[in-house]
């Protein structure tokens, strides 16, 4: 057990090592208790406009029960990321927003301030927004190719998961052992492993029964509990960022290779979100009149020793020339290679570029690689 975001959380469960649990997830499926994450709601006539101010996303373009990866941006206009988040539109003026546990206090302060500011603005009388959290609610991620088969038996007759695609959500009540139906849960197809899967938001009283029902549904050969260790190596293979490591208050979405979360309609200085001017300029390379960026998040394949957080990236021919540093890294159980992500000087960011990484002072050959390292297997319409 390790302390994490104010919770005691397991790195691994008895019975499987981290790499065994990792492989089991990619072959079958695993349940991750991610109840430590912060589940928030924003509701009100101004909810869309409010989210359009604090994030580069366009919640107005989301259909009901659809979600998007996004980030909260600092109000100082620097383009720096407060936290990364998943935003789901539940109803036209109602959004479900999941943020990181490790950022709980910072996010609470930021969101309270921003919301107070928003609601106090004179022209926002008809655009008031309220926020809520559901402390104690469970959040369980069922991840892996077997996830659908494990979840399906808990659904009421007539519900079909085949028509719920990656990034879509629905509310329902699950069949639990011993009683007819549990309290309403919100099920979102997606997750943080690159696999098909579901994240289930559950009433506190039902979190344990739902988890037990999922375990019983698959049986020990098809579904197991997995801890933070496997979650970390799985998300790394999937090329996904971990706030506090791969993202911080100083990184912008463009530097973080997250430009794809900004829809085309919002890629302009007058888009109105915090940092829009800086971000719009960064989106255009220097050669084309923009500011570009000086560093970019890239993937790396490292020879020999695994490179981990803090390892320096240097020039392949001159190890005294620093090019950046690794922000996450581990041996990839799926690939049998050392994978890492980090920030590298602009110009060295193209896939195939040879560099070196210093691990325990010694240079190890490395090459810039495309992410995800392991192809994603989301359930998408064909």
């Amino acid at each position: 057990m390790v302390p994490f975001g104010g919770f005691h959380m397991p790195v691994q469960y008895t019975g499987l090592t981290v790499s065994q649990s990792h492989t089991f997830t990619r072959e079958h499926c695993s349940i991750f208790d991610v109840s430590h994450m912060v589940q928030r709601w924003f509701e009100g006539k101004g909810a869309i406009s409010f989210l359009q101010r604090i994030t580069p996303s366009d919640p107005a373009a989301l259909q009901d029960n659809h979600s998007t990866l996004s980030c909260l941006l600092h109000a100082d206009g620097s383009g720096g990321i407060v936290d990364d988040t998943i935003i789901t539109r539940i109803k036209p003026d109602s959004f479900y927003v999941v943020t990181n546990a490790a950022c709980r206090d910072k996010d609470n302060y930021y969101l309270d301030q921003e919301l107070a500011k928003w609601n106090a603005e004179p022209d926002h009388e008809d655009l008031q927004v309220v926020q809520g959290q559901r402390p104690g609610w469970g959040l369980v991620a069922l991840q892996g190719p077997g996830a659908e088969a494990v979840l399906a038996p808990l659904l009421e007759a007539g519900q079909d998961l085949k028509t719920v695609y990656f990034g879509q959500s629905f509310s329902t009540r699950l069949r639990l052992p011993g009683k007819q139906l549990g309290a309403e849960v919100l099920i979102s197809r997606g997750g943080y492993t690159g696999e098909d899967g579901f994240e289930i938001s559950i009433h506190p009283a039902d979190t344990v029964p739902v988890t037990e029902a999922l375990l019983a549904s698959g049986g020990p050969d098809k579904v197991k509990l997995a801890g933070l260790g496997a979650r970390d190596s799985l998300r790394l293979e999937a090329g996904m960022c971990l706030y506090g490591h791969d993202l911080d208050d100083t990184t912008t979405p463009v530097e973080a290779a997250l430009s794809w979360i900004i829809p085309p309609s919002r890629r302009k200085p007058e888009a109105g979100f915090y940092g829009a001017e800086v971000i719009a300029r960064q989106l255009v390379p220097k050669s084309k009149g923009g500011s570009g960026v000086t560093r970019r998040r890239v993937g790396l394949l490292v020879e020999g020793a695994p490179a981990r957080e803090g390892a320096e990236i240097v020039d392949a021919n001159d190890k005294t020339v620093s090019l950046g540093s690794v922000t996450s890294g581990c041996p990839s159980p799926t690939l049998g290679k050392n994978i890492a992500m980090g920030y590298i000087k602009d110009g060295f960011h193209k896939a195939g570029t040879q560099v070196a990484v210093l691990v325990r002072g010694r240079p190890r050959a490395a090459v810039v690689a495309k992410m995800p390292f392991v192809p994603s297997k989301y359930w998408k319409p064909t």
């Binding site: 390790v2 994490f4 790499s19 490790a102 970390d232 706030y243 506090g244 020999g304 695994p306 159980p333």
Partner: protein, 175 residues
């Protein structure tokens, strides 16, 4: 997910001791006395290395304990010490890496590296299978020559019995 990742991907300079934070169910391990030379002295460090010093007190073998190997999980890479290099007690001489974390291997006593276990380059998981085995195919890390200082340093280390007690206490502190 800041602090966990710091724990599970403990960056340098962390010793094997940092691994004691992870959730390892502890078992009592039968030590492989058969592979230890007669009259050899076996000692353990708080950082979970072991050393066998031969009866003539001139040579030794170093490895990591079964307890540490279990805490680390599947070892995928071993950074072997540099041949011929002299180290003082506590110096980092190499490292073991698993998916979960990286841990330095520290010199239990002052010594000079005379052999390294090249088997570990091909089969790093010998560390998981037989971490306290100093025979061919075993999970030992290196062989060393030992001088006067090294023999003195042995006094600061734990006997197998004391180490068993030490790891039992460490396990309890988790709960």
């Amino acid at each position: 997910m800041a602090s966990i990742a710091r724990c599970i991907r403990s960056a340098r300079p962390s010793g094997l001791a940092a691994l004691a934070q992870s959730s390892v169910s502890r078992r009592v391990i039968a030590r492989p006395f058969s592979v230890t030379a007669t009259n050899a002295i076996r000692k353990y460090t708080k950082e979970h290395e072991w050393i066998d010093v031969a009866a003539d007190k001139k040579t030794g073998v170093i490895g990591i304990s079964d307890y540490a190997a279990k805490a680390l999980g599947d070892v995928v890479f071993v950074e072997l010490p540099e041949l011929g290099k002299k180290f003082a007690a506590g110096d980092a001489i190499g490292a073991v890496e698993s998916v979960k974390s990286a841990a330095d291997i520290n010199a239990p006593i002052s010594c000079t590296i005379s052999h390294v276990n090249l088997t570990l380059e091909e089969k790093p998981n010998a560390i998981n299978q037989v971490p306290e085995d100093d025979s061919h195919g075993g999970g030992w890390i290196c062989k060393v020559t030992v001088g006067e200082q090294g023999i003195k340093d042995l006094d600061n280390l734990m006997t197998p019995e004391a180490y068993d007690e030490f790891t039992a206490t460490e396990g309890e502190e988790e709960h």
